[in-house]
Symmetry: none
Subunit: 197 residues, 2 copies
């Protein structure tokens, strides 16, 4: 029995499940060539829950009633959201986002993160980007984590327009800055606490 293979197997197991969380233990035995008991001991050690628990967690994450906004259509993970005030989202640059030649992110992905966040932070039934003035300060590269911070500068709940400023950072460095003007469906926002159902 080789002592090394165990850790290797643990790594492989983690990787396999990460890239396909829908695998049953039985399917994993085929890929790793060990018994199903070993797979289960491994999951135990690695604290990887069973298939059904994984699916449930995924379903819950995508369902989350708190974030009633259409979040899965949003680019980037919104990790903090104070409606009509500010918000933060994280977006990791991956293979599919970059020019293969240079490894530099295509501008519209960085824009999409900022735009999604700017729209999400507006507390309204319908919010649409009206215009934007944006600057790409330095390129974002493959594997970098872009952290976008949005601040609502003038919510204009009555006027029907809100100004949102977004700054995107990689570490300490700013990579993107944008000023968004967002249309809002004017009226049912923080108008009063209660109006809508």
């Amino acid at each position: 029995m080789e002592r090394i293979p165990k850790r290797q197997r643990h790594q492989q197991l983690s990787r396999l499940i990460e890239e396909n969380p829908f695998l049953t233990d039985r399917e994993l035995t085929r890929q790793l060539k060990v018994s199903i008991q070993t797979i289960r001991l491994d999951r135990l050690e690695l604290a990887i829950p069973e298939l059904r628990e994984r699916l449930k967690m995924m379903a819950e994450r995508s369902y989350d009633p708190v974030r009633s906004l259409p979040l899965h259509e949003v680019i980037g993970d919104i990790v903090d959201l104070q409606l009509d005030k500010s918000g933060i989202s994280i977006f990791e640059i991956r293979e599919e986002h970059v020019f293969s030649r240079s490894g530099i992110a295509r501008g519209h992905h960085v824009f999409a993160q900022a735009n999604s966040l700017a729209v999400a932070v507006i507390n309204d039934e319908i919010a649409l980007t009206a215009s934007a003035d944006i600057r790409f300060i330095r390129p974002a590269r493959l594997a970098e984590k872009c952290i976008a911070k949005a601040y609502v500068r003038s919510s204009g709940a009555v006027k029907g327009k809100a100004k949102v400023e977004v700054f995107t950072y990689v570490g300490e460095e700013m990579v993107f800055q944008g000023n968004f003007v967002i249309y809002r469906s004017a009226g049912d926002s923080e108008h009063e606490g209660g109006g809508s159902h």
Copy 2:
């Protein structure tokens, strides 16, 4: 036995599961005050899958956006391209591009089309968006075909920056307008045809 309650119960059942897909049949019996067999017959009639299938479907739906992410390479079909002069691309607004609530396209998709075109029209090894000033003139809707036209206003092959103006139309109506400043890798444009494979 009342004949009405059955249809009412079906409606209630559908509503309950819609607003909380995580309910087991056993939990549903408590809420509807009928036996578990009745619940199961009802689900059968209404073609509502069992809890685990529901969770799996939700998990799958929230999982595949990673692979089927629409924002891949160039957004829109480039149908005409005169390098360093002008270009045209067509992009059809589909389900995955709109707010499900309103059927209006998310701004970053319309931007992505324009941005892709602005970058493509620049005849250079590496071209990156430096900044942009954009306006969403009217919303683009589901199933509409967006036609973007880009014009290079100052190619500045030596300077390292180019200005590109993009107009996007649906039919006769303009939906988007943007002024892009594109960085170019200054010099090695069509320097000569060959370099890279």
